[in-house]
Subunit: 381 residues, 2 copies
């Protein structure tokens, strides 16, 4: 029976030195593997270290060599299937190169992210893949600090201005625009957007909306811009009331959906900007007694395995999760290997998986329906 | 513009010493914060370290103090909602104590788990929460090694024999038994089990089944034992053909379901042992054109937010994910703080969330239905 009762902390170099009957500097030189130590003293130190359970200390070695063969991955939300899918792609690639990954989750909170970069710096990782909550140049000091310490950084899912790093993203704006174009082609004119940018509840002006978009995460910003572009280009007026502005939880998404449906002119279709937003919408649909697609058309980010087992199954934007993870990991390994080219934005194409959750707008006339052509087949960039 | 082109590795102590114009041992003493260094030399080393971007090295400090204020969490599968839920509970608790967590995922592979414990040991974490893939006493050397290095370990989701550690689990056997009792009470006698223990496809004896159960992960073992106990106690013969033995992926769960439905006497109800197994079953249902609960009753582990938005919503076993995470973290913090009591198994109760996916067996007579009483209201341990 092995005891798990770890009462004491890790033995210190001093304790090892004491047990070995040598000075602390000798123990430190032996365990840190530097400087000159007599073979007799070295043997005593190593025996004492073993007996006390002192870590043979790849850490101390990594201080000398600068290589720890670990990569840190900082994600926004470990519970979001987007991140678990991308993590698989990252892990597959770096495992094949003999690296391990350690993961930290920030809850999309910049404070937690700053903590996380500090932990990874302390843990001497060789590089960092980061889905940053930073929005503007004021938020990047912690990333800057990693880079100054010569730790390569690759950004995932988001582009952050002011950093000369690789960013691995999808074509958020183009694919959101295409989703809305598909709804327009089916005659929808009032299209709700769940998980729009946070803004003052009383401000429903287009100016207020545009200002709030500028304060939003890059990927969220691109998606709402795609929505707006599709409406603007097709001459459909933007109604900010149709763009939710709630806290980003499933519960609040359900609430936002119910508020939209209670409007004097409710939406006939919904674009959900993330999979938890879609789950919230589905809760709202159950509670309001609606059915889809007859009562309301639904399209959303991101495709998951449960989207396919709903009846009817959901039409969803599918991101190439494995490829995103592979690409992020490959770029990072290249940087760790010494590649010195300028940072690039790698945009991978997402696609719309057409299933059964969108249909013609019941109120639209045949003419309205044919004004905008469907664009399912066309992959815009 | 900050450059992210990290061509070189982290500067070494030798490079810092060179830049400072002092010996390597002096630089090491200064940066490691031990031994005696003149204030002049110290100032030179710190200036050189700053200029080169040498990490101020909380790591080196943690070697001296034995405290890194980080906890490692090793999970079986980052994509399983069980783990993301528990991770939230862990993070909430340890953040409140000023600790950070780093996460590693093993894909339920013992080799990856051994790697992960080695990484965490190198990274000097103060404690480890581990959902171990170890089954028997032969598999625990890496856990033993952590413990010998005085790193407290708390097991999550599983009990591993031969280790005197805290284990945080649910009442798997009792709750699986109750799920089956509910199906028996509704007249079901042929109850399929998706994700049973892996065994030879040709061996469908009870002995072969029992042997395979002994080679299975503790939580899986407890669930199948609960299933068998319910059948045995109610005099319902166990048919090993009804217990799937496939690889644990959604695709294989769908395949296993279709095989069960193709039997001469197919099941009238299914117990899915994990949420990805249930997704697989739902795929199988769509493909075979069945409907639930009329065509087949469904009950499974673990409740997720999508279980509730299906039509009809699923009757699922709900684990207290946050409480499991909180408890695991609290026990670990207690051990890190020096608590020295014997390891305990902490069993938290799961519950069955009764929705609309199970109903009476269409073939059962009213007498059969009343032979076994439903036990929804009773919380057995």
């Amino acid at each position: 029976m092995i005891t798990g009762r770890a009462a004491k902390s890790q033995p210190t170099i001093s304790e090892v030195a004491l047990a070995a009957g040598v000075g602390r500097a000798t123990a430190a030189r032996t365990l840190g593997n530097y400087g000159s130590v007599s073979s007799d003293a070295r043997a005593k130190v190593l025996a004492a270290a073993e007996a006390l359970g002192y870590r043979t200390n790849a850490l101390a070695r990594s201080i000398s060599t600068g290589v720890s063969k670990t990569v840190g991955v900082i994600v926004g939300d470990i519970g979001n299937p987007y991140f678990s899918g991308v993590l698989r792609g990252i892990t597959d690639t770096i495992k094949a190169r003999g690296y391990d990954s350690i993961i930290l989750s920030t809850d999309e909170n910049l404070h937690n992210e700053i903590d996380a970069t500090s932990v990874l710096s302390d843990k001497q990782v060789d590089g960092v893949i980061l889905a940053s909550a930073a929005i503007g140049a004021a938020d990047i000091r912690h990333i800057d600090s990693l880079i100054r310490r010569r730790t390569p950084v690759v950004l995932l899912d988001r582009v952050v201005p002011g950093l000369d790093v690789d960013s691995i993203v999808i074509n958020n704006r183009a694919i959101a625009k295409k989703a809305v174009q598909n709804l327009l082609a089916l005659g929808h004119r009032r299209i709700g957007y769940i998980w729009g940018p946070t803004r003052s509840p009383s401000d429903n002006s287009r100016e207020g909306l545009d200002e709030s978009i500028a304060r939003t995460l890059w990927s969220d910003r691109e998606r709402i811009k795609g929505y707006l572009e599709a409406l603007d280009e097709n001459g459909v007026g933007v109604d900010p009331l149709l763009i939710s502005s709630t806290e980003k939880t499933e519960t609040m998404a359900a609430h936002a959906f119910e508020l939209l449906m209670a409007l004097p002119e409710p939406p006939t279709a919904i674009l959900a900007a993330e999979s938890p937003a879609m789950i919230g919408v589905l809760h709202g649909i159950r509670r309001t007694g609606l059915t889809y697609p007859a009562g309301i058309s639904l399209i959303g980010f991101d495709d998951t395995s449960w989207s396919e087992v709903l009846e009817p199954p959901l039409t969803m934007v599918r991101q190439p999760l494995l490829a995103l993870g592979n690409t992020a990991a490959e770029r990072l390994m290249l940087r760790i290997g010494g590649f010195d080219g300028p940072g690039q934005i790698h945009t991978l194409p997402a696609e719309i998986i057409s299933r059964g959750s969108i249909t013609h707008c019941p109120e639209a006339t045949p003419t309205e329906r044919s004004e905008v052509k469907p664009r399912f087949e066309q992959q815009s960039q």
